[in-house]
């Protein structure tokens, strides 16, 4: 294929700044949304450590509880919670963009898809909290 650019006079090529994601609010929220992946991984790590502690008797449990109460740990976990929450909210609100459901030829509005998602989220969260707190 002929590359038409070859026959044009010289052109000026721009490069993107390393800090492009600070240029616009929507870019920043995008990068924050992607950064939530770090804290999703972190939460899994916490879960694994906790499973280990629970299965390894009182001393392991005590060490785990002390670790979790450390101010630095609490600070990290507050940030992690905010990021995980942000991930959940953006995930549910973007789901209708990727999933198109049509009823009688009409596209179902976004809220009819994300609404049940949010409702399920609340129910599941309450259910898990109930199972854990019941004991």
């Amino acid at each position: 294929m002929i590359n038409p650019t070859e026959y044009l006079p010289k052109s000026y090529h721009r490069r993107m700044s390393t800090y492009w994601w600070l240029a616009r609010w929507s870019y920043l929220t995008f990068i924050l949304r992607e950064a939530s992946s770090v804290f999703v991984g972190w939460t899994v790590l916490l879960t694994l450590v906790q499973i280990w502690a629970v299965t390894h008797g009182p001393s392991a449990n005590a060490a785990f509880h002390e670790w979790m109460r450390h101010p630095l740990m609490l600070g990290v976990n507050v940030v992690a919670f905010l990021f995980v929450l942000f991930h959940a909210v953006t995930w549910f609100s973007l789901t209708p963009k990727a999933m198109v459901i049509r009823v009688k030829g009409q596209r179902v509005p976004d809220w009819a898809i994300s609404g049940p998602n949010y409702a399920a989220w609340v129910m599941v969260s309450l259910g898990i909290a109930w199972v854990v707190l019941r004991g």
Binding site: A35, T47, V54, A88, W91, I128
Partner: protein, 117 residues
């Protein structure tokens, strides 16, 4: 089909993991990392937790939670490195670190959950 690669598979894992972590992770993190350590809620005893995670179904639940969330995070983090830091030329290394890390975490989860007495 040759050039279609394994991206669809990784994306399916990413999507499944995204839904699982969005649904389950906030409440997990809130209870065990904030509410219990800060004393907002009375934590269940360690013995109760052990009893709670013993049934096979709960172990499967925890395994799926860890496995899918890890692959979700790996996929997203890989692209964040590509684009945020503009280091796409380290492609292979990033792939190995991200998905390899997720695989190691998944194996660790399986091992730990098998160890539950």
């Amino acid at each position: 089909m040759s050039k279609r690669s394994n991206e669809p598979f990784l994306w399916l894992l990413f999507s499944a993991g995204g839904s699982v972590s969005a649904m389950l992770m906030p409440v997990h993190l809130f209870l065990f990392a904030l509410a219990f350590p800060l004393g907002w809620l009375d934590p269940p005893s360690d013995e109760t937790l052990l009893v709670l995670i013993r049934p096979p179904l709960v172990r499967v639940y925890l395994f799926v939670f860890c496995f899918l969330s890890l692959f979700h995070a790996a996929h997203r983090f890989r692209f964040t490195l590509y684009d945020g830091l503009q280091i796409k030329h380290l492609n292979e290394l990033i792939n190995v670190l991200c998905y390899g890390g997720a695989a190691v975490g998944t194996v660790a989860a399986a091992y730990l959950l098998c160890q539950v007495p």
